[in-house]
Subunit: 204 residues, 2 copies
Amino acid sequence: MAESNKENTENKILNAAKAIFQSKGMDGSRMQEIADKAGINKALLHYYYRSKQVLFEAVFSNAFSLIAPQLNKILDSDLDLFDKIRGFAKNYISFISKHPYLPNFVINELHRNPGFILKLKEKKEFPNFEKFTNQINEYVEKGLIRPIAPEQLFLNLISLNLFPIVGSPLFKLLLNLDDITYKKLIEDRKTEVAEFIIHSIKIK
Amino acid sequence: MAESNKENTENKILNAAKAIFQSKGMDGSRMQEIADKAGINKALLHYYYRSKQVLFEAVFSNAFSLIAPQLNKILDSDLDLFDKIRGFAKNYISFISKHPYLPNFVINELHRNPGFILKLKEKKEFPNFEKFTNQINEYVEKGLIRPIAPEQLFLNLISLNLFPIVGSPLFKLLLNLDDITYKKLIEDRKTEVAEFIIHSIKIK
DNA sequence: GTCTATAGCCAGATAGAC
DNA sequence: GTCTATCTGGCTATAGAC
């Protein structure tokens, strides 16, 4: 029970740590709780990861590395701009609905520990905006869309897709909606958001 | 040095607690740090607020009660819909730029402690959507804007305005922009966002 | 590799003098 | 009201047996 079990335990730890850290953050998480969730004890947790900090960084780094490829998959594709926007809304909302803590987790921890920013800048892959930027400028020149800064369009695209999910507890409260009604609202956005953006930029 | 100083100390405590809690959250904040920032010691802090939890709830409740009136001020005004959207973008981005931690703080703590949701539902004032909803439906009927669910327009309005500020560390990293360039991008949004929305819904 | 037991520290809370 | 000193509990981390 050596090698294969080691893999097994390590995976159990990472999954447990991911669940706990992503929902409670670094400060709100307890090593004991992670150990319990992984079905082991604290000492073994420290045997695999010397410290809470090290374990946390493994989880954070992993979480962050999910984001960029997911963005690239669409931004960097060969689709027509309007289909790209439609595909992004449809896929990204599904993706984030499955990992609803991810964006807030990353934002919080980047803020809590700005040191991460430098670390990430060194090693990680970032989304490649060149194709997306070129495409937008090209569409503007051809008179297919009205002039807009690619960065602004990107901010709009992400904000419209992510924030209603990230901020769902707040929105539910403000709009006074129950879970089911709100979920339906989000489901509708898989098409709504794309149409909203396309209506805004497309020249008829 | 009784009454007047009590007010004074209590204010110093609340301001210090607000600053610490809103940037570090409940779990990441230390009573010692709040005491230091208020220029007093821990014992006095506990004299005014029996426990960390009580102090935190005072700060949270106060933070939340800033949000609704700020929304109402515009949603519930007598402005033309398009001016309302323009006014919202201009004012709300300024407001949030001054309190950048507020939305995330509220979202995180609502998630961390869902008990707050019930408490808030009991006592707090919420934004009044009736006027806004009626106005949208009226504009749709008159053929001034294309059909859109008022809730979706609300989500779009808030998301476009808030998320680029809430998620600034993430966006700076993804777009690889320095603080000054990003700040300029946000500044531009005070007019960009409104035009983006109006282009999307207005029938020419 | 995995466990039990415990060291050592840190933070919230209180006692009690002034 | 405000302070110094201290209690108490909980949490990270390690020692050491199996």
